[in-house]
Structures are given as C-alpha cells and as structure tokens.
C-alpha cells in the first residue's frame, strides 16, 4: 500500500464521517422551527405550477374493466359512537347534511333529497399519500350543484368538510375534517358520493356521504361528511392547518 493509498483511505473514511454528520445534520435541521418551512416552499411551488398548468383540467376516467376488486378502506372503517351506529342501522334515513357558513341560504339535506338531485358517475383512481392506488366507480352529487343551492357569498374562499369519525380518544375527541378551495369545490368532478361500484357507499368507505376531489391525494377525500361550511379562512378551525392530517404536518395542497 502506498502512502497515496493511505491518504485516499483516510479521505474516504473522513468522507464517510462527514456524510454521517450531514445526515444527523439533516435530522437536526428537520427538528428546527425554520427549516421545515423552507422545505415546504417546494410544495408551494408545486401548487402554483399545477394551478398554472391545469386549473380546469380533468382527472383521468377509467372503464369498468379497471375497477379494483375491492376498494381499500384506510383510516376510519367504522366511526365510533351510538349516534352513528343508530343512523347506520336506520339506513341513514335520519341523517342530514348541513351546508352553511358564508352562504346566502343555508340548507339541510336528507340523503333522499341528495339522491333525488342530478347525479354524476365517474370511474377514477384514488391515490393514497402512502403510495397505493385503487380504482372505484363513484356516484354522487356534484358539489357545484349543492353550492348553487346555497349561494356562496363573494368572500367565501374555502369549503370545510366536517366528519362523523373521531380520530383519537382524547378527553375531547378530534373529529376528521378537511378543506378545499373554491376552484376545487366548483370542479365538475368534485362530488359528494353516496355510491361506490353501483351500490350504496359502504361504511368502511365513508357512508353515507364522502367527498371526491379527484386531482388530490386520498386524505383530502373526507369520509362520513355531515356538515359543510364555507369560510374565508380556516385558521380558527381545528389546529388551523385546514385538515386533520394537515394539523399533523401533512401538506394542505395534496396534488402531488
């Protein structure tokens, strides 16, 4: 071994050490207050670029041949509590969707009333933030039809969806919620679905009503929706980040 080899080896060992330091440095950076905010700008750029490229673009629709044999349920598969159980036993006949907030005419709609509205069916791919996809046939009412009914005020910027499933058993239960902006709310494929694959929406997939917001990841598609509120800002709701998972650090914009 020549002296050159020794210095080379030293360098490589040193480089390995520096690499290990940099990695623990990455973890330390992750734990600071400021660095994750810098990292988040990447996703802000994603959102800006995506909106620029396709504000009105349509998600790919598939054929029956592509349907997943079963549609995976993630997160809640059976909401806790007597109230939900009682509603489910009654076929959700006594269930109501409440739509309010910054609207001209708040309404309460029974499931039968929603079913009587002009409906839409679409076969789309559901992409989970974890990485998996499943394809399902959704039937429901376009959210834009419901919004037309309640007449949103000019200053309404977001639609917030409140759900019947409590996510954690703390002293005060934390219910799932989500929010989307008005562009997504008015998108023709954004709907409140009450049917999956030609049948009533199963409980594990969000019965009686769930959101479909096809150009975003699965956690945006709130299940067990009971109330929609139009707001100017969601800073005062929940943890202030616009959704249950968002409050735990997930990206509000989930188009990627």
């Amino acid at each position: 071994m020549t002296p050159g080899d020794i210095s080379k080896r030293r360098f490589l060992v040193g480089a390995g050490g520096v690499g290990a330091l940099l990695l623990s440095g990455c973890d330390r950076l992750s734990e600071t207050e400021w660095f994750p905010k810098v990292l988040r700008t990447g996703n802000t750029l994603n959102r800006g670029l995506h909106r620029l490229l396709g504000s009105r673009s349509m998600a790919q629709e598939f054929t029956e041949a592509h349907l997943s044999p079963f549609f995976r349920s993630n997160g809640t598969s059976m909401p806790e509590g007597e109230e939900y159980l009682a509603l489910a036993k009654g076929g959700f006949a006594n269930w109501q969707l409440e739509v309010g907030g910054l609207v001209g005419r708040p309404v309460k709609l029974a499931l039968a009333e929603l079913r009587a509205m002009p409906r839409r069916t679409q076969i789309t791919r559901h992409d989970c933030v974890e990485g998996w996809s499943a394809i399902g046939k959704w039937t429901g009412v376009p959210l834009s039809s419901i919004l037309a009914l309640v007449q949103p005020q000019q200053k309404a910027r977001y639609a917030v969806f409140y759900c019947a499933d409590a996510m954690s058993g703390g002293l005060t239960p934390e219910y799932y919620y989500e929010s989307i902006d008005m562009d997504d709310a008015m998108h023709p494929q954004t709907m409140l679905a009450f049917g999956l694959n030609g049948k009533d929406l199963p409980i594990e997939n969000g019965a009686p009503l769930r959101l479909r917001v096809e150009r975003q990841l699965g956690y945006k598609h709130a299940k067990y929706v009971t109330r929609i509120e139009l707001v100017e800002s969601f800073a005062h709701i929940g943890g202030g980040k616009g959704g249950y998972w968002e409050d735990y650090g997930y990206q509000w914009y989930a188009g990627i």
């Binding site: 360098f11 990447g42 998996w132 996809s133 499943a134 394809i135 998972w245 735990y248 188009g255 990627i256």
Partner: protein
C-alpha cells in the same frame, strides 16, 4: 498541497483545466440533490413498501416487489423481501432493522438510509419536493449550459471513430487500465455513453415517473401516464431508476478511486486535472 509531499515525484506533467466552474457547481449541486432525493424517496417508499405494475395497487394481482416483516417463531420479527413471489430473509437491513438506540425498526428501509431518520411521511415529502425543484432547475441549467457552451458536443458526444473503438475501451476497463497523456484529457467512449445515458435517459425518466405519480399532473393531459403503464407502473419505474442511478454512483465513485483519486477530486473542485506526460 499536502498530497504533493506524499505522492511520488511526478517530474513531467502539467495541470490541465478540465472542468469549468459552472460544471463543477452543477456537479456538486446535483450530488447533494440526488442524495437527498434518494434517501427521502426510500423514506416515502416505507409508507407503503410494495410495488405494482398497472394503474392501481388493487387489481387482483399481488405486488411484484414487497418488503415486509413477520413474527418469528421464538425469535424477534423477521424481515422479508419478496421479489416476484420469491421470498428472501433480509432481517437487519430490509423489513426489520434497528434504530441507532437499539430499538427495533419495522419499516422497510433502515433509518440510516432514510431522510429523515425517524419516521415522518409529510416531512420526507417536504424534503423530497424541495430538493426535486433544486435538482430539476439544476438539470435544466446544466443541459442549457452544455448545449450553448458546446460542452455536450465537444466533451460528451462520442465520435464515430470512438464508437468503433468501443471494444478496446471495454477491454481497458476490465483490465482497470486508464488512459494517460493527451488521451486522459478527454472522457473515454464508455464514460461518454454512461454520462449521456444518465443525463438523457435515466434522469429524465426518473423525473417523468415522479410527475406521473402526481394526481394533479396526471390531469393536465388525461391519460398521459399510460405511456409509463399507469400510475403504479410509474411508481415502480421511479423506484428502479432511482436504484440504477445509485448503481451509476457506485461505479462512478469506484472509477474515481482507481483512476487517480486525488486528481479527480481536485479537478472537480478546482477544475485542474493533472496530465502525466511520462516518467
């Protein structure tokens, strides 16, 4: 430089300006970005450690690749890696590994291979997307620079004469024989082809497959993702190409080590590469 005192005397030789400043900056930027992308990508993979072919994950067909764990009989959990249905025990590295504090980690890739080390999918995604922007912007700058500075034509494109000599070049590589003198000023033909395929095949493919996983980007031209075989195929391609890039890095570093390590490090830092003209 310290190296000069411990390296045998090299009487005849001179320093040749090999890498321009923009190339050096973009090289190291690319290295940092790709390292973070690779490691945060492994972290993101850990959220669902299985790969599929087609549009969806639930099509009735099992995954083509999977890293998982199961309880051992009278032992701790066992790491399992399944490739086309064939099982391999990979305890210690894949499926079951240990955190630095000795705790058992049942995520697919070990914490030392991921950014961040501790499990946080949203944070890994933030790392990934931020460095993806740096990587893509750096890559675009590099391609434009290479076109306009003629770096691409002058240094990277093999001539037909070089292509005909590819057999000789392969033999030289197998024998670990490296060019000296004026020949060392140029990249050799295998090197050129390796760089070109990374720059114009693997890197664009890994970007395209990454975009194909975005539901919003899918919608820009509905159905475009079908050219990669569907979203889950795109995810599989993204994973495979990432590992091909890792393989390239391994070979690249190996070649650097055996063909004049300090010389290469210096030339990619200061731009100057020593040409030996004989003893």
């Amino acid at each position: 430089m310290a190296a000069a005192s411990i390296t045998p005397a090299r009487a005849s030789g001179y320093l040749y300006y090999r890498h321009t400043l923009p190339v050096r900056i973009m090289h190291w930027t690319n290295f940092v970005a790709l390292t973070v992308l690779f490691m945060s990508g492994l972290h993101i993979f850990n959220a669902h450690a299985a790969l599929y072919w087609g549009h969806s994950s639930y099509s009735g067909r099992p995954p083509i690749f999977e890293i998982t764990a199961r309880e051992g009989v009278g032992s701790g959990p066992i790491g399992i890696t399944r490739v086309f249905g064939r099982e391999f025990e990979t305890t210690g590295v894949l499926g079951v590994s240990k955190y630095p504090d000795g705790q058992v980690n049942q995520h697919a890739f070990p914490s030392w291979a991921t950014i961040p080390g501790g499990y946080s999918l949203p944070l890994a995604r933030d790392w990934h997307f931020f460095f993806a922007w740096i990587f893509v912007l750096n890559g675009v700058a590099y391609v434009l620079y290479s076109l306009f500075s003629r770096h691409l034509m002058r240094d990277l494109t093999p001539s037909s004469r070089e292509l005909r000599g590819i057999g000789t070049s392969i033999v030289e590589h197998v024998k670990f024989k490296h060019p000296s003198g004026d020949a060392a000023k140029r990249f050799n033909v295998l090197q050129k082809l390796a760089y070109l395929s990374v720059i114009f095949v693997l890197l664009p493919l890994v970007i395209l497959a990454g975009w194909a996983m975005s539901p919003w980007l899918n919608s820009i031209v509905p159905g475009w993702v079908d050219i990669l075989g569907g979203r889950q195929s795109a995810r599989t391609i993204h994973f495979i190409v990432a590992w091909l890039l890792f393989l390239f890095l391994a070979v690249h570093v190996f070649e650097v080590i055996i063909s004049g390590f300090w010389n290469h490090i210096r030339s990619m830092v200061t731009g100057r590469y020593r040409i030996n003209t004989g003893i």
